[in-house]
């Protein structure tokens, strides 16, 4: 993939997801975009070229928001702060291309995007933050897989004390069932 194509794909990602998540996501905003980009790149190996690192709010790359800014200024998406929802909402902008017009940029990765949308599109920002944090922590911890679960729960619980250990365990089991945790890159 050329730098130009990757740049275009990154610029179009917020819009592409705005189309895909329109009827599905209860809260498509900056956090959901960030976590979707993480899952696409780190779990489903779509080469977006972002550099994610861990913060208390999960895996994060400032480049994702920089690209969202660029997409917004082209009028491809609107980014509005919704007071009641306590967060930003991303919707289609006045210059938004249609889904079929965008398909060229994503044609090699359509299956991956579909899978991410199907598996994670229904989650709220907070739920996605938990799941991507689990995925990140799992990918970075060494040791035998059978002992890893408890360690992941312990670390995520330290990182996000507002989640009960039971909630973390349920989310981890769900990700294991999907095969997502074992896929995340080290």
């Amino acid at each position: 993939m050329t730098d130009y194509n990757r740049d275009l794909m990154r610029l179009q990602l917020p819009l592409f997801l705005a189309h895909k998540l329109k009827e599905i996501s209860p809260q498509y905003g900056k956090t959901v975009l960030m976590k979707m980009a993480y899952l696409l790149q780190e779990v489903y190996e779509v080469p977006l070229g972002y550099r994610f690192s861990l913060y208390t709010y999960g895996p994060y790359s400032s480049e994702v928001l920089a690209d969202l800014d660029r997409s917004r200024y082209r009028g491809w998406v609107n980014v509005e702060y919704i007071e009641d929802e306590v967060g930003f909402q991303i919707t289609l902008g006045q210059n938004a291309a249609t889904l079929s017009e965008l398909k060229d940029s994503f044609k090699s990765y359509e299956a991956e995007v579909e899978e991410v949308v199907e598996n994670f599109g229904r989650f709220r920002a907070k739920e996605l933050e938990l799941r991507t944090t689990i995925s990140y922590v799992w990918s970075k911890l060494g040791g035998p897989e059978e002992q890893k679960g408890n360690q992941v729960i312990e670390s995520v619980s330290q990182l996000k004390p507002h989640f009960k250990k039971g909630e973390i365990q349920t989310a981890l089991e769900e990700l294991m069932e999907m095969g997502v945790v074992s896929l995340a890159r080290k």
Binding site: T31, T56, L65, K126, E154, L159
Partner: protein, 312 residues
Amino acid sequence: MFPVNAEDDRRYHHEEYSASIIENVFRDTIEQHQGNWNYDIKASDVADLVSGNTNLSNQSSVRRLLWRPLVTSQLDADRCDYLLRDSLHAGVSYGRYDLDRILATINLGLSESDDPVVAIEEGGWHAAEGLIIARYSMFTQVYFHHTRQALDHHVEQVLKELLINDYDRAEFPLPDVQGLEEYLKWDDWMVLGRIARDEAGEHGENIMNRTLYRSVYETGETPDEAEIQRFEEVSARLEELVAFVGNATRPWYSLGTQDLMIVPNDSQEPKRGRPLSEYSTIVGNMKSVEQRRIFVRPSDRDQARISLERIF
């Protein structure tokens, strides 16, 4: 110019070099320092905070992630420092802002997912606005100045030339113990000395003789689609006259206006806040700088101008 990390097949990042320098070169300075006797801060703790390589099986290391935004975020210490420092050394005032007010009003807030984030109290939002305006001015007036951009290109080419000359490839040594010793030789004195001794090829001569590449065509600071399209056409028409294209779309030009969270004053417990762009009309209407420029060799400037006159 950083090499690829064989472990994950990605290029090393400058922060990984910083972390390695802290761990390997500054270890004794940090761990033996009198001021550290009560705290027992290890060099590896500092290095982990910089690189983001948290030891996830160590609970205190995980909890320390709360402070990572002070090292790398839109409000990190480096960004707060370099605007003032660069303003002073460049002899301009664009980068000045009220750092004292920022420090007096910095606090913790909660993100939309109830995670703690570094924020500014309501009483300091004008200082936060001032910081964003200072960053915007420095980007447009200093960091993205056409002469500085040309010099950036020449220095990059000089480094490539020198690296190939020394190591047969345009890459710095690895950030491991052996590589680091070699890497640290690449300071300003060494590179400038080699440019002065005519060891740095054509681009070294460009710097020495100040025959820098010239900007002959540019877009506005925030070009729309039509302007970008026009730029691409001009670039294609000038063909081989184009020495390089400079653009400001790299992430460090992002103003990060919406990352700054404002929280209620004197909040004892972290509270959810609102983004700065909701308080400040100026910040809310700012656009990322995406200016593009076409540079040509000084000897091609007249020819480029004639070609541009034909195009327009």
